[in-house]
């Protein structure tokens, strides 16, 4: 028998050396101080610069607008509406994009057939398709969704394709040696190997779709959504609502990107990342 005692333990994480309360205090300091500085400067400018409050409202006005829209419920239906659209598009687009991208990475024929159309379409920004989708679908939900799905599908497709193509060949050999072939090779080796780039693709697709959905909601009024709210707040000259909506967009986007997408990425990319150093 070999003694496992002889084996070196993995190194401890340096960050864990600090006591927990000091780490927390340090993090809080670096988050709170910059925000506080910005808020104070904002308030000073709003009160003292002489710029009309209708253009540059002080914080309490924006805060009241936030509370008002929250109480009326439009805040929640706007966030919900935008997210529902994103969700539908990300699910549909990721599904199509992952499947075609994986086939492109795996089969030479699929790659040859799709590479030119993919690159051609990638050169056309989703937003350029607004006139077309408006003609096709009118000012409807579908006019927005189709553009989002277009953008997500292409982004995910390109990332999945390169991900599957750049798989470490030695892993495919190991898969074959240990009994994976055909479909099981795909599910047990190719897909998990490509997962870090596929997930990076999802993240990129989400951030692109997030930008586009706001524009789309401004151009195509469908009754709710953060972009819709921005547009109509301007029409009615509700500057406070414009600012409140911008604030919401920033916070919601940031939180979602940090909590959901970064976590998914960290679970795959970071854990598997150092494997590549052996090549």
């Amino acid at each position: 028998m070999i003694e496992s005692g002889k084996i070196a333990k993995p190194p401890a994480d340096d960050d864990l050396a600090l006591p927990a309360w000091r780490r927390l205090a340090k993090d809080t300091f670096y988050i709170v101080i910059p925000i506080a500085v910005v808020l104070v400067l904002w308030q000073l400018f709003a009160k003292l610069s002489g710029v009309p409050q209708a253009l540059f409202p002080p914080l309490e006005t924006i805060g009241r607008a936030l509370v008002r829209t929250a109480e009326e419920g439009t805040l929640w239906s706007d966030v919900g509406g935008t997210f529902l659209r994103l969700f539908k598009a990300v699910v549909a687009g990721s599904l199509i994009g992952t499947v075609i991208g994986a086939l492109m990475g795996y089969f030479r024929d699929w790659e040859r057939a799709f590479i030119l159309p993919l690159n051609f379409l990638l050169a056309i920004p989703g937003t350029a398709l607004f006139p077309l989708t408006m003609i096709w679908f009118g000012l409807s939900e579908m006019a927005i969704l189709s553009i989002l799905i277009y953008e997500v599908t292409l982004t995910v497709m390109a990332n999945t394709w390169t991900g599957v193509k750049s798989i470490d060949l030695s892993l495919i050999r190991a898969g074959r040696a240990f009994g994976a072939d055909g479909a099981s090779m795909f599910w047990r080796v190719l897909l998990p190997s490509a997962m870090p780039s596929i997930i990076s693709g999802y993240r990129l697709a989400f951030s692109r779709a997030w930008r586009i959905v706001i524009i789309a909601e401004m151009m195509i009024s469908v009754g709710s959504g953060l972009g819709y709210r921005l547009y109509w707040a301007r029409e009615f000259f509700q500057t406070d609502v414009v600012y409140a909506t911008l604030l919401t967009i920033g916070i919601v986007g940031l939180v979602f990107e940090r909590l959901v997408l970064r976590t998914a990425e960290a679970m795959t990319v970071n854990r598997w990342g150092t494997v590549r150093q052996l090549e």
Binding site: M1, I2, E3, S4, K6, I7, A8, P10, D168, L169, S170, L171, R173, A174, G175, R176, A177, F178, G179, A180, S184, R188, V189, P192, S193, M195, T268, R271, W272, G273, T274, V275, L278, E279
Partner: protein
């Protein structure tokens, strides 16, 4: 069970424009050897002698230009779970834990979950990773990773264990520790092993027989039995005598190496 027979094995790479093989490459024409049941046989040779090619052919990962390979009398036509392979570059699945990597082949064999986890626990113990079953490969040192590689190959209880310069990527101290570990595991399991290396000491320390590949196209120029008692010391006079014989035999190979050899070494990796 566990006899490996290699008969008149031939490997040629055809001439191909743009591949650097303008005249084609004859790696070997006629290689014949047998590894008996429970025997540990090493193949040594300078890089480019085609030793890794031999292993890839036995593994069924590449197809030979001619000749046959038999494992327990069955002809090899492709990869199979009657052979367990340990790769030089480890080739562990980074998304699976140590236990998951070791279980990979067992899943291919459709071993039921309960039996599988028992087998994995047993193997994890055997390769000395008892407390590391839930670690991921990139959390492990090089030596530990190759223990996982060894465990993955042993788990399927193969007729023949194929090892392709398994310790070549490790530093000297770890390499020696891994050799000791492998020697102990071999004494415990008595597997039939085909072991590829360019390290003479390693071959003498581990093997019952050492085959020396040399020349171009290469041939087996020496089949040296290592009849030293097990739990060997690297410092015995008889050990060093074997080393000297092999060193002398290898000298011939190195002097014939040229660019063609380098090219063959590259093709081996593909």
């Amino acid at each position: 069970m566990g006899e490996l027979r290699v008969e008149r094995l031939r490997m040629h790479y055809p001439a191909r424009r743009g591949s650097g093989h303008r005249t084609g490459l004859r790696v070997f024409d006629d290689i014949t050897f047998t590894v008996g049941e429970g025997e540990f046989v090493s193949v040594i040779g300078a890089s480019g002698c085609g030793k890794t090619t031999v292993l890839n052919l036995v593994a069924g990962l590449n197809a030979p230009s001619g000749g046959s390979i038999f494992v327990d009398g069955h002809a090899v036509t492709g990869p199979g779970l009657d052979r367990g392979i340990v790769f030089q570059e480890f080739a562990l699945f980074p998304w699976l834990t140590v236990a998951g990597n070791i279980a990979f082949g067992l899943k291919s064999l459709r071993v039921p979950a309960k039996e599988r986890s028992e087998r994995v626990a047993q193997i994890v113990d055997l390769v000395g990773l008892k407390n590391f079953a839930d670690y991921y490969p990139n959390q492990l040192s090089g030596g530990m990773r190759q223990r996982v590689g060894l465990g993955r190959a042993l788990a399927i209880n193969p007729s023949v264990l194929l090892m392709d310069e398994p310790f070549g990527a490790l530093d000297a101290a770890t390499r020696e520790a891994m050799q000791n570990a492998l020697a102990e595991i071999w004494i415990e399991t008595r597997k039939t092993v085909l072991f590829i290396t360019h390290d003479i000491r390693e071959a003498v320390f581990l093997s019952d027989r050492v085959l020396v590949l040399s020349g171009r196209p290469s041939q087996i120029v020496l089949d040296l039995p290592i009849d030293l008692p097990r739990r060997r010391s690297r410092h015995d006079a008889s050990f060093q005598e074997k080393e000297q014989i092999l060193e002398f035999a290898l000298g011939g190979c190195a002097s014939q190496m040229g660019d063609a050899g380098e090219a063959a070494a590259k093709s081996d990796k593909q």
